[in-house]
Symmetry: C2
């Protein structure tokens, strides 16, 4: 049986590459996890997700507990089998989405009671139930149930929210059923306050998890304050455990965060943007709805290996987006995920070669050039 284990490899400054060994395979880090909210990375077959280079995907506990239901997924053999993704899956705890999506929430010291946004039915999430649901889903990586502190928050509010989450982290750990190759991550909170971040990191490492996430960022504080929070938090986390920055982010967020020692990311940006006609490229973002693409025979990104760039023109992608054709979101999602994965591969290569500073400078310079269609 494979033990759940993080193996740091090359280092360049605070950044590192590594291998995360799990029951469902090895993940090379730094890694980006596509979001598969409702047991599917939207508009992508799992083989296509794998072909982009993704090695681990994320599932959303809130969505899956409501539909199709955690007990049903367990009866059907777990999430991997259900969605035909044999690789590692990380599930979030549901806490964040209860706050953003559900109706009629009542929070108490032990958890939160809410009504489903789908049918109004009443449900409850607590540290124990969230952990149980993730076990039923057969998540490779289970996240501790926490409260995502809103931004901005006064220091006292941020402190009490963080301390509530630390209590819940202990209860989540108590409810976790350890199995070889499976792991559970605690989540550092504390808003933008260094002393709270340090207190939270210390509390979680005292409990002991297989990995540590940094939560409550990318919620409106801006890149500068996000990076500042990383500068404080990352050094306070154990070097031999993976560090996961939740819900981040733009390509420049990934580059800056990897430089600060982050190993794992997830974000809806590449998949959601693909559905609105926005593409990420080596020359910055491109909006394919724009009429300037309608006669453009060039590929979206000359250097990209994905099918959207290899087999189609900007003119065709523009036509698909304007016509609201499903193939448009299929191809753009595939492109965006490929771009993200290739960026992560580039970062891993640069760390291994000890050239991360140059890689980051080149990345910023190329992004700043702007799209070829705008010249």
């Amino acid at each position: 049986m494979t033990e759940f284990r993080f193996e740091p490899l090359a280092r360049d400054g605070a950044a590192r590459t590594g291998r995360l060994h799990t029951a469902h395979g090895v993940v090379q880090t730094p890694t980006f996890m596509p979001v598969g909210t409702a047991a599917t990375v939207k508009a992508m077959r799992p083989e296509e997700v794998a072909a982009t280079g993704a090695q681990i995907v994320l599932g959303n506990t809130y969505h899956l507990m409501l539909r199709p239901g955690a007990e049903r997924v367990a009866r059907l053999g777990g999430l991997h089998r259900f969605m035909n993704w044999p690789g590692p899956i990380l599930t979030d705890s549901g806490g964040f989405q209860v706050m953003s999506l559900s109706q009629l929430r009542r929070m108490d010291k032990d958890g939160v009671t809410f009504r489903s946004h789908l049918d109004g039915s009443e449900h409850r999430l607590s540290p124990a139930r969230s952990t149980e649901i993730q076990h039923l889903l057969d998540a490779t990586i289970t996240m501790a149930f926490d409260e995502c502190t809103p931004f901005p928050a006064e220091p006292e509010v941020a402190a009490s929210s963080m301390r509530l989450s630390m209590g819940w982290a202990q209860r989540s750990r108590d409810a976790f059923v350890a199995r070889p190759g499976y792991g559970q991550f605690g989540i550092v909170q504390g808003s933008v306050y260094p002393e709270l971040r340090l207190e939270s990191a210390a509390a979680l490492t005292a409990i002991g998890f297989e990995g540590y996430a940094i939560g409550g960022l990318a919620v409106g504080e801006g890149q500068e304050r996000m990076f500042a929070a990383l500068d404080v938090t990352v050094p306070a986390l154990p070097d031999d455990r993976p560090r996961y920055l939740m819900g981040v982010g733009k390509p420049s967020d990934l580059v800056g965060s990897v430089r600060r020692g982050v190993d794992m990311f997830d974000c809806v940006l590449p998949t959601r943007s693909g559905r609105t006609g926005q593409a990420f490229t080596r020359r910055g973002t491109v909006n394919l709805r724009n009429a300037r693409h309608q006669d453009d025979q060039r590929p979206l990104d000359e250097e990209c290996r994905c099918p959207a760039c290899r087999s189609y023109s900007r003119a065709y992608l523009h036509h698909l987006v304007r016509s609201e054709e499903v193939l448009g979101l299929m191809l753009l999602t595939q492109h965006n995920l490929t771009y993200y994965q290739d960026l992560m591969a580039g970062l891993r290569g640069a760390i291994t070669a000890g050239t991360l500073d140059a890689f980051a400078a080149d990345f910023e310079a190329e992004q700043a050039l702007g799209d070829i269609s705008a010249l």
Copy 2:
């Protein structure tokens, strides 16, 4: 250069197999053409369309002339290159969809003036312009511009409509630019009246086309009257040219029409149904929205080779349909097209083996059994 040529092969009663040689490749007949309305078979990559077994697809002149525009497609290298489908493409004439989709139509003896359903802009289609547009699109097979006679129609109405279309067929032929490997089909009209169908077939064969379509059916007359019209019309068409039944149909329509000597079909049913959760299987149609599938680990169709049947459970497909996930329509479209193509391959094999009657009897018996989930 390949000549456009139909090569009849095996025969079984009125049915025959054949090879249609075109500039863009060979099509084995009887064949089913998936509909690629707006330069895409909805929710399918072209490689996936080909993997279902499809060898030729259909494009809609009405949609393409409005968006992205025929002249634009020509500037971009033609429809094959634009949509990344190197195989044969048949385009309809636009006549049928002008009548069903456009606004403020004014028909005269030379054509029809209409406003786009997209932006209200005014356009005109005539035999010459429709033929020119299909040339600009680089259609492998161009259809003559006709009026699809409504159903029901009194004999006098059906006769004058048919005779108008025969005049337009001559003008369409005059406007057709002959090129090696490209062909143009005339369209038999005449509603349900045998003498009108025969008059139309005679008029078209006098003009001379590379193939003949049977139009104005599957418009509400029912399968029995459709088959009766085929029984009259097919023998009146040249044996050495392909026969194409437009807009048909259900699986049982295909079986019955092949038995009556039809070589080519197109229909939105497998693609449109896939988008609403309806699947065609060897045991009849299955609605995956139905709650009885929610815990069903079995594949949609045990005998199907498609990814939806090989890698996923009915429970998962049900979940995708209920959640309105794009992957659901991707997988169901792929399944339905695979089912249609496998049915055509089965028909070709039975004709070759001289066992078409037995094949048709088995088909009807299996369809009548009903879906396994309903037992």
